[in-house]
């Protein structure tokens, strides 16, 4: 049983050198993996491709992508629409702009509940430690951390088979980051979703996933346990491990 499977996936604009090449890995249901790499290594591109959110002229140019057993390469817009939300869902990098500004949080969560065929919105709010009154609020009335938890609550409501979290803690302070990571942890625990946690921060990655995939220059260069990165044969992986260790060393 495989939740997410990528084989030899390439992404690029037709007629231009590919931005991502030969990407291959699988995630079992409930498995958690971290995708790590420097800025520009292709992390967000991967995330966009997994939700069918690549913008033209970018497109999948080769290889295959399976979500929950269904082949998604060359899928029609309708097929993608059916898969999004309940099969694969994504929590994006910038919570401040992710929610529709003109609608109340409650309306936006109800929409997700309808998509999932009914769900317990209050329970989802409890799980991410948000109070009921938030349903009446507009996005501008919430802090960045609260918005990110609204998105996680949305994921709890949708109960996707695969959750992609694209740098969900960027721009949040340390305490808020901890809360957010804890909320993602509870969400994945509660729904049994496979998690692909994308980050440039090995520390955040280790706190939530035990498996690390390392991207460098559009190629997957390492796939190992997160605590074994410093023994990797890939220089990029070792560099990341060293950098994380240096940050942790007492000043």
């Amino acid at each position: 049983m495989v939740a997410l499977s990528l084989q030899n996936l390439s992404i690029g604009a037709p007629g231009a050198p590919p931005l991502l090449t030969g990407m291959g890995f699988t995630l079992a249901p409930g498995e958690r993996a971290g995708l790590i790499g420097q800025s520009g290594s292709g992390k967000s591109l991967t995330a966009a491709a997994l939700c069918g959110l690549l913008r033209p002229p970018l497109a999948i140019t080769g290889g295959s992508l399976d979500l929950d057993g269904g082949a998604m390469t060359g899928a029609t817009p309708d097929a993608w629409r059916r898969a999004r939300g309940t099969t694969v869902f994504q929590i994006f990098q910038s919570p401040s702009t992710a929610l529709t500004p003109a609608r109340r949080i409650g309306v936006q969560l109800e929409e997700a509940a309808r998509r999932a065929g009914g769900a317990d919105i209050p329970a989802a709010l409890d799980a991410v430690s948000l109070g009921r009154p938030i349903l009446q609020h507009f996005p501008y009335q919430l802090s960045g951390g609260m918005k990110q938890r609204v998105l996680i609550a949305m994921a709890l409501i949708l109960r996707p088979k695969i959750l992609i979290a694209d740098e969900p803690t960027t721009g949040l302070d340390v305490l808020t980051e901890r809360d957010t990571l804890a909320a993602i942890d509870r969400m994945v625990e509660a729904t049994g979703a496979a998690l692909l946690f994308i980050s440039h921060d090995l520390r955040a990655l280790r706190s939530i996933a035990s498996r690390a995939l390392v991207l460098e220059g559009g190629r997957l260069v390492e796939d190992c346990r997160a605590d074994a990165l410093h023994r990797s044969t890939a220089p990029a992986a070792r560099a990341l491990a060293r950098a994380a260790a240096a940050l942790h060393a007492p000043c």
Partner: protein, 285 residues
């Protein structure tokens, strides 16, 4: 996207934006080219009347036919190029001469100066543009010059507002702030850092505005309160054609098409430039 779904032009490697730009520029070049060689064409003088050939349909001697005074329509259409297009370009230039400094000063000065200047613009903008132009013409007396002045008076404030918005957003850019903080003179910041940024969006604006001004000016001439007969002007020619509407429909066709094609050219250029400048790509749903 599967190849079959892509518009045929993109498959050939031509972006629709570039096609529109090319087409628009080609039309304008064609107009100026025809005008440049019109002296060498074997056409009667635009004001030469031939009362025996009144309202003649298109023929070998008169390729577009003649009007109610027997004047050659082709010659008049060509002679109207510098009048109709020239009036629109002159009006646009005058609008820019007012709007550029006005908008830029408001944006650069900010604060109370900005507020007062914008309030002033608001007062003018509170009138519907064509209504204000009509009123100005009414007070000046009908003439091509008056219609140009009327259009300039009515059209400058919205353009000044847009210039102000462009300069304001350019000012907010980090490298402009950095230039200012590093002690570059105000004039230098404006000329070297702000102006180059607002030029591309300004080109879009100028092109689209010229299209609407051309429409307005020819409409005013059509109403008989712009260019006065016997000046050859496309709108005025249509006005002259109105009484002979049923018996000589050919008099309607050519001047209308001339306005239409010229306006399309400016609109195509404006929209194409905007498409080319807009690098953002919408999410596919």
């Amino acid at each position: 996207m599967p190849d079959a779904l892509r518009p045929p032009l993109t498959r050939l490697g031509i972006a629709p934006g570039r096609l529109g730009l090319g087409l628009g520029l080609a039309i304008l070049l064609l107009f100026s080219g025809i005008w440049a060689i019109s002296g060498r064409l074997d056409l009667p003088a635009p004001e030469a009347m031939d009362l025996l050939a009144r309202l003649a349909p298109p023929s070998a001697t008169h390729p577009l036919g003649t009007d109610h005074l027997g004047r050659d329509l082709a010659a008049r259409i060509l002679a109207a190029i510098p009048v109709s297009l020239g009036a629109a370009l002159a009006a646009m230039a005058a609008i820019l001469v007012i709007a550029l400094p006005f908008g830029a000063v408001a944006a650069l000065a900010g604060g109370r100066v900005d507020m007062v200047m914008m309030r002033l613009a608001d007062c003018v903008m509170a009138f519907p543009t064509l209504v204000l132009a009509l009123a100005v013409i009414g007070f000046l007396g009908a003439s091509l010059e008056a219609s140009i002045i009327g259009v300039v008076v009515a059209w400058w404030p919205s353009n000044a507002r847009l210039v102000r918005a462009l300069v304001m957003s350019a000012q907010e850019r980090d490298f402009v702030r950095a230039a200012r903080l590093s002690g570059a003179s105000r004039a230098r910041v404006v000329l070297r850092h702000i102006l180059p940024q607002i030029l591309p969006p300004l080109a879009v604006l100028v092109s689209l505005e010229t299209a609407s001004i051309l429409l307005a000016l020819s409409a005013l001439s059509f109403l008989g309160i712009g260019a006065q007969p016997p000046t050859p002007e496309w709108g005025a020619m249509l006005n002259e054609a109105r009484p002979f509407f049923a018996e000589a429909p050919h008099m309607l066709l050519a001047p209308g098409l001339a306005v239409l094609i010229a306006v399309i050219a400016f609109n195509l250029i404006g929209e194409a430039l905007r498409d080319l400048l807009d690098k953002r790509e919408p999410y596919r749903w």
